[in-house]
Point group: C2
Chain length 546, copies 2
């Protein structure tokens, strides 16, 4: 049994209305013990109590497609009212939910856009359709994408390859194409992070970045992709936790009335849902308690409050603000209506009544078209160098990745492990928790004697990711390449993820050295890259089709 609501209930219907404007975080897994991020993900007890009190949305991460399908049905059952169920599936639903389509990061299409804008836009729209359709079939009705930030700072640790472009035309056209595709499938899209998070080298998950640009520059670079998204009918916009002194000297965009109401609503004419980025992030929560943060965001112009540090406290704060007249009944009503309109636009797919129907739907989740799209994106974004196959081992397959623990990039059957093994290359895996592989000599940084004998295939699975505090390029890989070349031990290079890292290494390679790059890090990307390095498929990979 769930305990009765212990919160305020002076005005239960008001509190329920306000609750509908909160979006809390849950795990896509069913059980508390399975949560990957228990710091942010509510327990089932908390989640159920909040949904019964009228909380109107949940952001989900983690679990398989099957688990997500059941989870969405469960949450709607607990809530007993229409919910906004969303996820950060910017790179296909498979980015977060295993078994669905996992596509190369958007920036890959940004690159193509410079050469062939029409093809790039067509692919971005299919990318949106694939993501929207799979999200809907699994029970979501809101995709937290596209990223509309222009990634014009290669050191950006938080946006990076998540952006649709590093130029304004690419980011604008492709973000708009993605959202058209997604919304055509009956799923709300979300342009983020307003007014533009591309040009920062600090991570807003950890501290508040400052964007020093003036109004002219914002109009020329940061705003156009959002204007394009609004023109394309995007249903929602997510705010950025950024300080923009040119717009508001006092408050970050998420809490800024000049930014959300003055600029986004009035000047850009956006009439859809405005949702904050997660209020639990350090850049907000270090300065404001959950009640104050929720009230300030709402007063600034947000309709929905995402991931408050404490949902009850956020509700208390909003309730007090309404009762004290700081939030007017009209303003509250406007947000409630915007939420209703969005829900009416993209109602959740009904949960199938029978298990048989559910199973059939799940079997058809990934269509042949989805598979073709994933493969086409991989092919067009592949970059190769040199030629000739890798020499046969024994040798060392040196892999650097962000984290070995629960790494979806590197299941036991990963081509990055299996193919070099078949050629005699024994794996050495490095992440931030490994014993140091470094020698202390900046000119010859790898302690080669700790890694084994023979030629070295270097595979780098790094990219800018939130919470990393870096774009993944802060280890001395150029010096490692020089060291391995001087020792005549570099057999091949594979880079997965960061185009900036690839660009910094490629000029160092001798003309014939086999090397390749994919923006994707998934097993399919590894298969393609290693194919080009002359490593044939291993039977153990198990194939990628159902």
């Amino acid at each position: 049994m769930v305990p009765p609501n212990p919160g305020h209930a002076a005005n239960p219907s008001l509190r329920r209305q306000l609750a509908s404007l909160l979006v809390v975080r849950g795990s896509g897994h069913s059980r508390d013990g399975q949560r990957r991020y228990p710091r942010w993900e509510l327990s089932n007890g908390e989640l159920r109590r909040l949904l019964e009190q009228g909380v109107g949305g949940v952001i989900l991460l983690g679990g398989s497609a099957e688990e997500l399908r059941l989870r969405c049905a469960q949450l709607r059952q607990w809530a007993g009212q229409p919910l906004l169920l969303c996820a950060d599936v910017e790179e296909g639903v498979g980015q977060r939910f295993e078994g669905a389509s996992w596509l190369v990061p958007p920036l890959a299409l940004g690159r193509l856009h410079g050469e062939d804008p029409e093809r790039a836009e067509g692919l971005a729209e299919r990318y949106g359709r694939c993501t929207g359709r799979q999200a809907r079939r699994l029970g979501l009705n809101w995709v937290l994408g596209p990223v509309c930030d222009v990634n014009n700072n290669p050191a950006n640790p938080v946006i990076n390859v998540r952006a649709w472009g590093d130029t304004v035309p690419a980011a604008s056209a492709l973000a708009a194409a993605f959202l058209r595709g997604c919304q055509a499938e009956g799923v709300l899209a979300c342009a983020k992070h307003f007014p533009g998070h591309g040009d920062t080298s600090t991570d807003s998950h950890l501290e508040l970045p400052v964007i020093p640009h003036g109004w002219e520059r914002l109009e020329a670079v940061e705003l156009p992709p959002f204007q394009a998204a609004i023109a394309a009918g995007v249903a929602s916009v997510m705010t950025a936790h950024l300080q923009l002194p040119a717009l508001d000297a006092e408050r970050p965009a998420t809490l800024s009335e000049p930014v959300l109401t003055g600029l986004l609503r009035r000047r850009l004419g956006f009439t859809g849902l405005v949702v904050t980025d997660a209020l639990v992030m350090e850049s907000i929560s270090a300065q404001h308690g959950p009640a104050q943060a929720a009230e300030l965001a709402f007063l600034a112009g947000a309709d929905l409050i995402l991931m408050p540090a404490d949902a009850e406290a956020a509700l208390d704060g909003l309730e007090r603000a309404v009762e004290a007249g700081r939030i007017s009944p009209e303003r509250l009503q406007a947000s409630l209506e915007r939420r209703q309109r969005a829900l009416a636009l993209c109602p959740a797919e009904p949960t199938p009544a029978s298990l048989e129907t559910l199973l059939a739907q799940l079997e058809q989740l990934v269509s042949p078209q989805d598979r073709a799209l994933a493969a086409e994106l991989l092919e067009l974004s592949l970059e190769t160098h040199g030629g000739g196959p890798l020499p046969m081992g024994p040798g060392v397959n040196l892999i650097r990745l962000d984290s070995q623990l629960n790494s979806p990039q590197l299941p036991a059957r990963a081509p990055a492990l299996l193919r070099p093994a078949a050629a005699g290359y024994g794996a050495r895996l490095l992440d931030g928790l490994s014993p140091s592989p470094w020698s202390g000599d900046p000119d010859a940084p790898l302690a080669l004697e700790r890694l084994g004998e023979g030629p070295v295939l270097l595979q780098l699975l790094v990219r800018g990711n939130p919470f990393r505090g870096s774009a993944g390029g802060d280890e001395p890989w150029p010096a490692v390449l020089r060291q391995l070349l001087a020792a005549r031990r570099l057999a091949g290079l594979a880079v997965y993820g960061s185009p900036y890292l690839w660009q910094s290494l490629r000029p160092l390679l001798p003309p014939h050295l086999p090397a390749a790059y994919s923006p994707g890090q998934m097993p399919e990307a590894q298969a393609l890259v290693l194919q080009r390095l002359g490593l044939a498929a291993s039977a153990l990979e198990g194939g990628f089709t159902d």
Copy 2:
């Protein structure tokens, strides 16, 4: 669409009968790309085709409880006939399927049996009930346990802590108690590996072990737990891939008529199902093709053929043997009847028609009693040494585990990571793929300079596991302990898994040094061990209750 059966169909009804005696392997995940062991796990296309041809059983591994529930429903839908669905859930269903109860390995109760046999037997029966009930609720009807081998060889790489005892009385009483509990829940149990796999130091997954014991010794040590299981009404017995020259100079037990028919059926009077261990294992498949292996096993006395290297070829072989008169119609009929009797004894739980019922059943999968059992097992098997809390860091949290990739022991929220981190101990993770942590000096084997400064908390998550080829004790941990003590850097020791490793290290510890051992490796075991080392719970662990 699935292509029509390309196999022989000279006698379709015979082939269908024979197919019902095969048990093939699938993944608990739904999609081909999610398979963890594609070398052994059939693709969905193959699985579906074989089930439509009448294949009568599937052994499943991997996935969450939710995924398994859907998977079992899907397989039964494909088959259109009652199936035997089984799994190697010797340590609770949560050992293989995330979210269900994961219990300490059986050998922990073997230890208790010496002191308090009544309590140990009561717990083993509850262990069987917990495992059987959760298996049934998820769609399985056959648990491939209890291990009836007496683990009287600490170097045993394949049985080890999976056994219910290292003495004959413990193994006999506890294996019988487990299977009574399991079968009381309506799920078939399986005594394995006949006639006894405890006294071997080679791994039958890799090569064929030879057991040189004579008949008297077998009667005194190896056979009693199987006799106890048969007396307790065990529904099935699994054969061992072992050579026992005293019983059969020519063939391994799995293919031996003297062992399976002479000893098991006639002398021990077993009337239930005899199932082979996986025929795909090297110790069989290196000597015999799939057709020959299946025929020999069946002729020796097996009813069910588990994991043939090639199911179609195995069917071909069995069909030819029947048509040539080497397998008599009576013999075939007897096996079919034994399978029918077993199915009638433990029919699968009907798949709920509505999703609502399914969700409710899944929510109730782990009962408060199950949680209490898991906690009691952890408490009683904990061993501690010394006292006093760990010194505060900065220090090094050095963890050795079997594999970081897809390690259910070490999710991001693992207490083994989070609790030392909160005390200032930075994690260093070692597995077989890490850069070498060794110095080359046998007296001071760790290259301490590669691991960081400060006191070292050493955590060893190792145990004997199949396919490892060792019982996990082949690294110089005693010398490491001496080295760290000599350098005054040993802050604490935590051993998870191998009692033999703990027994070899404990005598080296100074009296006050904080240290603890749990036979379990799951996060709950880490929480308990580290509690005793003075490391309090971190909020990030997320709790272990739903």
